[in-house]
């Protein structure tokens, strides 16, 4: 599958994966597909596509407002699937991972969603409020359909739980580098390195790190220890600041700078 192939190729080249997150439908559906292509141009290895939800409990103000804008335009899960299918028409290589909350999936029905996601060309799904305890059936559905269940690990996750996550997780795991919501500050790279060592004792698949990475310097610091760097709020803000017409160009250029910093080590 695409995620495994991507990480294998990066490993061969000695590079760290760069995973940008954007909110689907902000500023518009058409812009989202254009932004996705621009991000690939700018050096994205995997794209995390945020599915807007009315109650984004784990997100900070930047992604909250972005979700609200996308919802105001009527963006729903079906639309995000359609955007992915559109993206796939001209890009067969770059993995797309959905990131969002449980209820839109529950409303569509887990089975229907997984089949639709598979058909649209989605590669992995991260549901913030499906911890492993509640995700057994859903993870099995994803895996059976060739999609990767992506899980979060946090600074508060004890090692016994990491082992439980390892059983369900495919593709990569996403280490939330700090206690807090998306877009928060205060990231400690030394602390992250120690935690990653503990995680790798239990988890064989690549480990991405996100929350609190906002620029070339923080990306590079984390890139030195992680398999992948996830960057969201700062990019979403860049897109918002650029306005609808310049969103794709601004996103691509912004990510390019991160890519350059990341590859400089």
């Amino acid at each position: 599958m695409r995620i495994d192939q991507t990480f294998a190729a990066l490993k061969g080249a000695g590079r760290t994966a760069l995973i940008p997150f954007i909110t689907a439908g902000d500023p518009s559906a058409a812009a989202t597909v254009a932004i996705m292509h621009a991000l690939v141009q700018g050096g994205a290895d995997v794209i995390e596509l945020g599915v807007p939800f009315s109650d984004p409990m784990a997100d900070g103000p930047v992604i909250q407002r972005s979700s609200e804008r996308a919802l105001a335009r009527g963006t729903g899960l079906r639309d995000v699937l359609a955007m992915t299918a559109e993206f796939r028409k001209t890009n067969a290589a770059t993995p797309v991972v959905f990131m969002g909350y449980a209820n839109p999936i529950e409303a569509m029905g887990q089975e229907r969603f997984v089949e639709a996601a598979r058909d649209a060309g989605v590669d992995g799904v991260l549901v913030v409020d499906y911890p492993p305890e509640e995700a057994g059936g859903f993870s099995a559905l994803l895996t059976a359909n060739g999609l990767a269940p992506i899980f979060l690990l946090s600074p508060t996750t004890p090692e016994t739980r990491i082992a439980a996550v390892a059983k369900l997780a495919r593709g990569y795991v996403y280490y939330v580098s700090l206690k807090g919501v998306t877009g928060a500050a205060n990231l400690d790279a030394t602390d992250v390195a120690e935690r990653l060592a503990a995680i790798r004792r239990h988890i064989a698949i690549p480990v991405g790190v996100g929350f609190g990475i906002r620029d070339g310097a923080s990306a590079r610091a984390i890139g030195n220890v992680a398999d992948a760097v996830v960057i969201g709020s700062a990019l979403v803000q860049t897109i918002a600041d650029a306005g609808p017409d310049r969103a794709a160009a601004a996103a691509g250029a912004w990510l390019q700078a991160i890519r350059t910093a990341l590859d400089a080590h």
Partner: protein, 408 residues
């Protein structure tokens, strides 16, 4: 996974299971960062829930600080006028701070103390839970931050001032619909950021496990007292117990001890707002579908895409798009029935209660009163209806005055 509605009530009733599930409802649907804190809370609660010293302290606080037991009262004049079943009130409105909310806050504050947490946070809609949380924080010397939607702050100026008097910081929430659900989101965000230092005092029987269970347990003092008081005052247990349901904590508090009594009907009354058909209501059980929000699976008011929709009720305390997962289970298993009452019906009952009984009820509780008044006339005079009068109406003076075209 297709959800099969459970139809069988376990006997003896022993829900939730170890994972916090009530049939397909409940559970722990939160981001990873909170799992550890919830595990810790569950373990601590398991330790203290049967600890004689903890129970004794809880009961001492309920007696001397809250003023329990609250009386059961025969609403004789109103029953007489209705000409049918006899209506009794469980007087939670007489509690310190004016509603049932304080029972739960005491319990959770005692847990917070034992966990060594010096900072508590809470969400609030009408402000009653916020006031109760601020009250216990003052009582036990803890820092208190209350999240409240900016729309609710406008509607409940007095309660905001009460919280501030009690030393709490009230943080206006500007996201989403700027009401209770958004306050809950914001409190969750605070908790995920300050999880080491902070205890989250959830105000209702919703949220991730173990909250629905422990809030129910702390509130069930209401029903336990009724089990003793009803035979004393009325000669026997009631034929039906009625309570309003927003998140559902006062209802679970009075229902739970009555679950093993099959002859006692349990009736939850939701807010039909301007009418279910108008879409402007807050009746999650009557008009919603199961989904996942705020850490649990339950009935939710949502659109086709699974986005949570805005609710409406004259009473801010019922203005919530979800409901406690145990109510979802009790509905599907038919152990409890759920009905709804409109703004206008609740207001009419509010005025009746003021004039006929000399009690100004909260608009939330007025929904339960309205349903009792609706069904009483058709019932024989020896039938007994017990209504949880969950709070007093002082906080609602502005809303009622405005509706009547009166300006202070």
């Amino acid at each position: 996974m297709q959800m099969q509605p459970p139809t069988i009530l376990p006997a003896p009733y022993d829900l939730p299971d170890a994972a916090g599930h009530f049939g397909p409802y409940g559970g722990v649907f939160v981001a990873e960062t909170l799992i550890q804190a919830l595990d810790q809370l569950r373990e601590e609660y398991a330790l203290y829930q049967h600890d004689p010293e903890f129970i004794a302290e809880f009961e001492r606080e309920l007696k001397h600080f809250v003023g329990r037991p609250s009386p059961v009262y025969h609403a004789r004049r109103w029953s007489e006028q209705l000409g049918g079943a006899q209506i009794y009130f469980k007087r939670e409105d007489l509690n310190h701070t004016g509603a049932h909310k304080i029972n739960n806050c005491i319990g959770q504050a005692l847990l917070a103390n034992r966990l060594g947490k010096k900072r508590v946070i809470a969400e609030t809609g009408a402000g009653m839970h916020g006031v109760a949380a601020a009250t216990v924080a003052a009582r036990y010397g803890m820092e208190c931050v209350v999240y409240m939607g900016s729309e609710d702050i406008k509607r409940q100026v007095q309660n905001v001032f009460r919280m501030k008097l009690l030393g709490a910081t009230v943080v206006p929430v500007e996201s989403g619909s700027k009401t209770l659900k958004d306050a809950l989101n914001e409190a969750m965000r605070d908790w995920v950021t300050n999880v080491d230092s902070t205890f989250y005092i959830i105000g209702t029987v919703a949220g991730p496990h173990p909250y629905p269970m422990l809030v129910r347990d702390f509130q069930s003092v209401i029903g336990r007292e009724c089990l003793v008081q009803m035979p004393e005052i009325a000669g026997r247990q009631p034929d039906a117990v009625l309570a309003c349901v927003g998140g559902g904590s006062n209802a679970m508090g009075i229902f739970y001890p009555y679950i093993p009594y099959p002859d006692v009907r349990l009736i939850g009354v939701e807010a039909a707002g301007e009418g279910i058909a108008t879409g402007r209501h807050a009746a999650s059980l009557s008009a919603g579908r199961p989904g996942v929000l705020h850490g649990n699976r339950t009935y939710l008011l949502q659109n086709e895409d699974g986005q949570i929709i805005e609710t409406h009720s004259i009473s801010a305390g019922l203005d919530y798009p979800g409901v406690g997962p145990e109510h979802a289970f009790l509905k599907d298993s038919s152990r409890a029935e759920y009905v709804s009452i409109t703004d206008d019906e609740a207001l009419a009952a509010f005025h009746k209660c003021c004039r006929l009984e000399g009690i100004i009820p909260a608009l939330e509780s007025s929904h339960a009163l309205a349903h009792a008044a609706k069904i009483a006339p058709a019932l024989p005079r020896d039938k007994l209806l017990l209504v949880n009068l969950s709070g007093r109406g002082d906080k609602d003076m502005h809303t009622v005055a405005e509706r009547s075209g009166i300006r202070f």
